[in-house]
């Protein structure tokens, strides 16, 4: 009993008599205490400079909203282009009908170009019947005409991947080399305009992304710099009291992280509201099915939020490293 009492007291006495061990124990900081301390400090900083923080948050939100808006238009245009591509076909008008025995060889030659989904031979008779069915009730105007009035043709449907104007031009040029080919039709001018519009949108997205990234970096850096300047005296006192780097820097980093994460999420939320309104106003079958609007996918949304958070946090880190040399 006594020995047990003695052994239980011994370590206490040893600890009390050994200041080195006592102080070492004091210096060990639990993660929960560390986290609580950092969160407390961050909360106080945000509360004290809430007007500046709110303005920064709005700026981040607007920047992300503008960028994501252009990206959304760009992606929807690409999607519309893809839908258009599914309907795209090149018609090779021929001087003479191709002998059915030769058709497999011609088809093989066409397929040698690659990326061809299907090849269909249309005789004069088939062309005539198709045209007549399109005329509907007015088909009687064709009564005096025979099938010879329309040329035979080959309809070539490229695979959806073959959407580039250059590729189509190459395919068209290739098809003109077929025997008896007179001309190839595929709505070249329309495709060119569509392609140019898409290219312009891509440039707008890239330029807006660059400008808005610079804007984010500038705004966050400026905010952190202002906050550091406003708290210069407090930071000096903290240093004198022995605050470590984490205690001083982490709240500023957390500010950048919150600004980036929350601002990006709010910007995308605002875009989502805007999108649903626009979709209800302009979407639907009235636009030939081309304007089937789709919102940004979840992985893309998370990527934008992640990029916004990273940008703001990294900007904070750079400013802190410059402004808070201890």
């Amino acid at each position: 009993m006594n020995s047990r009492t003695g052994s239980s007291r011994a370590p206490k006495r040893k600890l009390a008599k050994n200041p080195a061990r006592r102080m070492k124990k004091k210096d060990q900081v639990g993660f929960s205490s560390f986290l609580a301390g950092i969160l407390r400090q961050t909360g106080r900083n945000l509360a004290r400079t809430w007007t500046t923080q709110l303005m920064t948050l709005l700026t981040v939100m607007l920047s992300v909203l503008i960028f994501a808006f252009f990206l959304l238009i760009h992606l929807n245009t690409i999607a519309a282009g893809a839908r258009l591509g599914e309907e795209l076909r090149l018609t090779v008008y021929l001087a003479e009908e191709i002998n059915p025995a030769l058709q497999p060889r011609i088809e093989e030659r066409i397929r040698q170009f690659g990326a061809i989904a299907s090849v269909r031979f249309v005789s004069r008779q088939q062309s005539f019947e198709r045209f007549a069915s399109r005329l509907g009730e007015e088909r009687d105007i064709l009564d005096d005409l025979g099938p010879d009035v329309l040329p035979p043709a080959i309809e070539v449907i490229p695979q959806p991947g073959l959407l580039g104007l250059g590729d189509l031009e190459q395919l068209a040029a290739y098809l003109t080399t077929l025997p008896d080919a007179v001309r190839v039709q595929y709505g070249r001018e329309w495709l060119q305009r569509f392609n140019n519009f898409n290219h312009l949108l891509r440039v707008v997205v890239l330029v807006s992304a660059t400008l808005l990234t610079l804007n984010l970096i500038f705004v966050i850096s400026h905010t952190i710099r202002l906050t550091v300047a406003a708290r210069r005296e407090e930071l000096e006192i903290m240093r004198l009291l022995g605050a470590d780097q984490s205690f001083i820097r982490t709240p500023f980093l957390a500010e950048g992280l919150i600004q980036g994460g929350l601002g990006s999420a709010l910007g995308l939320g605002a875009l989502m509201i805007l999108f649903h309104w626009a979709a209800s106003q302009f979407g639907g079958p009235g636009m030939l099915g081309l304007l089937t609007l789709e919102f940004l996918s979840w992985p893309l949304l998370l990527l934008i939020i992640g990029a916004g958070t990273f940008l703001c946090t990294a900007s904070s880190l750079v400013v802190i490293n410059k402004s808070l040399r201890i």
Partner: protein
């Protein structure tokens, strides 16, 4: 500080310490002293004698031009940034100009020293209330420091210095703005810290402080140690 202090009786040792401010003001010259654990040591001298500079050298707020300061067996000129931060968390300093944050409450000012040391909020609150009660400031807990008198601010600065129960407390003119009653409270707090094994070094003009209880007194004149009173 934690790993700086072997179990020796001496807490602070200054060896031939010297500090020259530009262009050629010799604030401290060849000062050697030692303070033991549990000791209250007073440093006296006229204004400009080098008392404040000596305290700043001890907590490495200033770098000496000559000599060395050893705390807990370690030369503090040779420790790295992280160790210096730890050292400062174990040294409480009550500055002559208080160095308080006027817009913050008394609670937050005193708590800052403990928050920096990552103490739990509950313990912080309890310790701050205890200290403020001892210094007769219990009713000022939530008041902004800017609304306090100079004497009250001085006691807040002392409470902050004592908050982490430091192994070493440095106080620069701790009773300069205090009446006799408040000065007695401060001295009682120093006594408690010393009884718990801490070392207190106070630079002061205040005779009523250092004459009491026969503490050791070092007298500085023009930066040099001129006389020592009281037994170590």
């Amino acid at each position: 500080m934690a790993n700086l202090a072997p179990p020796t009786a001496t807490m602070v040792e200054c060896i031939k310490l010297g500090k020259i401010y530009p262009p050629d003001v010799e604030a401290v010259q060849e000062v050697s002293l030692a303070a033991a654990r549990g000791e209250i040591l007073f440093i006296t001298g006229n204004s400009g004698a080098g008392k404040s500079t000596l305290l700043k050298l001890i907590c490495r707020q200033e770098i000496p031009d000559a000599g060395m300061v050893i705390i807990g067996g370690r030369d503090i000129a040779r420790i790295g940034a992280a160790q210096l931060q730890r050292l400062r968390r174990r040294i409480g300093v009550a500055y002559q100009d208080f160095r308080l944050l006027p817009q913050l409450s008394v609670l937050r000012n005193v708590a800052l020293a403990m928050e920096i040391d990552y103490r739990p909020e509950r313990k912080i609150r309890r310790r701050v209330e205890e200290l403020l009660a001892k210094l007769d400031l219990a009713d000022k807990l939530e008041r902004p420091v800017s609304e306090l008198s100079r004497g009250e601010q001085q006691r807040v600065a002392i409470a902050r210095a004592a908050a982490n129960s430091p192994a070493l407390l440095l106080a620069d003119e701790p009773t300069g703005n205090l009446d006799e009653e408040s000065a007695a409270l401060v001295l009682a707090l120093f006594g408690e810290l010393a009884t718990a094994g801490g070392t207190v070094i106070a630079a002061t003009h205040d005779e009523r402080l250092y004459r009491a209880d026969g503490h050791r007194v070092l007298h500085l004149e023009r930066g040099r140690l001129a006389a020592t009173e009281g037994a170590r």
